[in-house]
Symmetry: C2
Subunit: 95 residues, 2 copies
Amino acid sequence: MTLPVIAVIDAKPEFNDEVELALRDMLLPTRAEGGCLQYELTQDQASSTRWIMVERWQDELALERHLVSAHMDQLGVALSGRIIDLKIYRLNLIA
Amino acid sequence: MTLPVIAVIDAKPEFNDEVELALRDMLLPTRAEGGCLQYELTQDQASSTRWIMVERWQDELALERHLVSAHMDQLGVALSGRIIDLKIYRLNLIA
């Protein structure tokens, strides 16, 4: 069973452009990772400072590799001090 | 551009089974709707009372039709008084 993940990132308004850029920079290297089935950047229609990554991983191992990747470290640095909230939902696909 | 939607439903613990059942009942009729590209029921690994629908719609019209469907009305009745929170994120697909 594949592993859906939803990440909800709320940017500080004054850093919204930087947060968007940092998330865009994740797309290519992440999609190139083995086991990455889906990795999309979306924006909440109701809040332009809320960014939602819609992800799908082959399995837990693929996700764990992603979480320790160099580009994930860079994202951590780029978001540091620029976001209000970050929620990551690891999901069991029920049906 | 297609329309991703994420719905986060937090059930009252004492009604978790009923909420799951009501969400399961949505799957067949919703997937049969024209313009429904994806409609999946998932459960947060960190919270068994949090259910997340991962959806994708052809366009706004398809979603609007869904929101006024008979099975959506039935879901509203079935969830009434049985959930703590319901968040629906309509998303712009950025990249």
